[in-house]
Symmetry: C2
Subunit: 435 residues, 2 copies
């Protein structure tokens, strides 16, 4: 079962797929060289949008949930990739503590934690779950959506190490996006922490990711000879917005108009007749909170109270003051009339699988990752590294390979983004030393 | 479908499996450290024997055929592992020429070549087949056992490079065991050649491999706290044998007696009542040629002409003068009454799959890899890296994981063996320089 493209606008995308298939050796060599130069994230997931005329990432998650939604046939791929990641990052490790999100009522998320635990165990590690839940008095067994039992244990600090009762881990794997800031218990640890805490949403900005992505997309487009716009969504950052106080509205409106104009020009250039739209979202947000669609400046002016409140506050009660205005990419993939959005998973430099978020109630220009969103996951039937070059663009293995290539571009952008964040974090010290 | 163990002597092996499962984090860390220190072979396959009381490698192939016998579901594992191997060995490569064996009448072997080609292509390389066949006038299409069409092209030399008409490869992948010596066309190339030519059977010796394996097995046994004999077959080398001229017979008989005595002692120590036996085989041979079984010294004395001829000459007409006398390990795995021998495949440091050679006509103490041998391949149903620790020793995922561990010991031994061969090959130069 593979989604249909419900658009006739497949010309440019089939061209892209053809180019990607034909230039595979150059593309793979290019990735090998880039991933040798930059430290690739331990794991990531990338939300893609496929409009038939454009294929682009719209979100890159460095603390990915949803491993439970992958095709179980490809878990061995996850295991091998995890072995490779561990070999690079902490070859000496034997014991990992996995620090998950605190939302224990989401049984699907717990299933993700159980799946991650199994992957890491199969890679040869002893793995236990260290919870940040403030009211977890002692080891507590919870049941996952799949009916598995999972033991959550309170994470404890001893000097510069964290651990569990009777368990001193060599490394800490974070599966918590740190939206509420980096908890004191995780700061300044002597243990290896992956991903680095600076990649959490208290310091990370979508606009920095997409700025890095833009450079990666330009290099890639030059390599394969395409217009980078086919894989790169236009965007602009907008600071000083206060939805609750209705502040910064003019600036936001001007930014929306600027991005819309840019998209309009590209649509005209490539003969695309759909109406352009943008997505306005919190620059430091995740979980589909603080997100809205705008097809014109009017859509962001004179928001009613409900709409403003929806934009004002995101996960962990954080107030939104910086937003990113990003070109909206239509979702023209469709399963039985329901909109389907592909999500690609990576561990180390390897694409380990993907699935579609299939959602009946939403439109092709809306965000599919929303609070309380009920989607039906549809695991990819094939892996993303076995294109059938004798086949046609659009054949599932070829479509998935192309998805994997674009997702790896986003993964590479994340590597650059983290490097830059680390460099910036070290800057004041460097200045102080030179003073 | 998984073979039954047709022996009640499963005590020691189930203990081994239990130990391997329990100490997985230490074992995997140990492998990570070893494979970081030594250059792991590009690919290999290892023939194992499982006697219920002992699990040991009996042959390690550095130019493995038989990739066509693996479970196609796990080809993505091969692809990821190949990507990892290429990243290490020749990250800059885009075009590989694959140099196969010359036996084009073996349609199953051709299917192996087609499968290897597909794996390397999926890893993102442009791959063509460069044949050493002396009578191949031009590009020739052959059909494989699976009905695929495969283009063989004559390999051509230009200065210090090899290539095909209109194809200048970055690297040469050898799938030819070089039993007849290293062909002039492959010597002194400026291109990367994997595996190194020194790993071919004109320079390689089984006794050197098993000497390296013995050291690896001892380290491993110390790590997990077992008698190394459970994973290590006793052996001794014997030079100056000439089966055709009946020379060296006394020396061979003494060696056989020595190894048999060693095994007898171990059998007594562990309460094993089966009669010990040894395998006598060409030290530089493969393809199951030049191999015989001996349960006593009498079996190697007074060989008749037919038996002597069978031992005297192996693949490519090479004369046998060095043999290895190796402890025979019973094959107590059985599928529908037929003897089954596991073969494990590795690319880079990853176990990518395995299959059983199932053979009706042979005994549990005979070699299953023989010329003209007709076996039925039975692909492993699960991968070798997903043990079920809640399950029992002997459950297929656990048995296969243990097979993968022992196969990786052999792979590590091959890494040491190649290092030592390279060091020895460089010795005369080092001496000349210091003189």
């Amino acid at each position: 079962m593979v989604p249909h493209l419900t658009t006739s606008l497949t010309g440019p995308l089939q061209d892209l797929e053809r180019v990607v298939l034909d230039r595979r050796p150059q593309i793979e060599r290019w990735f090998r060289a880039r991933f040798a130069e930059h430290e690739v994230p331990f794991y990531s997931s990338v939300d893609l949008r496929n409009s038939g005329f454009k294929l682009a990432p719209v979100d890159t998650n460095l603390f990915p949930g949803g491993f439970n939604n992958l095709n179980p046939d490809f878990l061995p791929l996850c295991v091998h990739a995890a072995m490779s990641a561990i070999q690079k990052l902490c070859p000496d490790a034997q014991r990992f503590v996995l620090v998950p999100e605190n939302h224990t009522r989401n049984l699907f998320y717990l299933q993700n934690v159980a799946t991650l635990k199994r992957i890491l165990e199969s890679a040869g590690l002893a793995v236990r779950i260290g919870s940040l839940l403030p009211d977890l008095a002692g080891p507590t067994t919870v049941e996952t959506a799949g009916g598995e039992r999972l033991l959550l244990e309170p994470l404890r600090r001893h000097g510069n190490r964290v651990g569990l009762e009777g368990f001193d881990p060599c490394a800490v794997i974070v599966n918590n996006d740190l939206s509420g800031g980096v908890p004191a218990i995780l700061r300044g640890l002597e243990q290896t922490v992956v991903p680095p805490l600076i990649a959490g949403w208290s310091t990370r900005r979508k606009s920095q990711h997409f700025a890095a992505y833009e450079r990666v997309a330009e290099d890639f487009a030059e390599l394969v000879g395409i217009d980078p716009w086919f894989v790169n969504p236009a965007f602009s950052q907008c600071r000083g917005v206060d939805f609750a106080q209705k502040a910064g509205e003019d600036y936001l409106a001007a930014t929306v108009e600027q991005v819309l104009a840019e998209v309009r020009e590209k649509y005209a250039e490539h003969g695309i007749t759909e109406p352009p739209f943008v997505i306005v979202k919190a620059d430091a947000g995740t979980y589909g909170m603080g997100i809205m669609t705008a097809k014109s400046v009017d859509d962001v002016r004179n928001l009613n109270r409900k709409a403003r409140n929806k934009m004002a506050v995101i996960k962990e009660g954080q107030t939104v003051s910086e937003v990113i205005v990003q070109e909206g990419v239509y979702t023209f993939e469709d399963v039985d009339g329901a909109v389907a959005e592909p999500v690609i998973y990576m561990i180390d430099q390897f694409v380990v699988g993907g699935f579609y978020r299939v959602h009946n109630a939403r439109g092709k220009d809306e965000n599919l990752n929303s609070p309380g969103m009920e989607f039906r996951p549809l695991a990819f039937e094939t892996d993303c590294q076995s294109p059938d070059c004798a086949g046609q663009p659009g054949d599932p293995p070829n479509r998935f390979y192309t998805y994997g290539v674009v997702a790896r571009l986003a993964n590479l952008a994340a590597a650059l983004e983290i490097e830059e964040m680390v460099a910036r974090a070290e800057e004041p010290e460097a200045l102080a030393e030179s003073a």
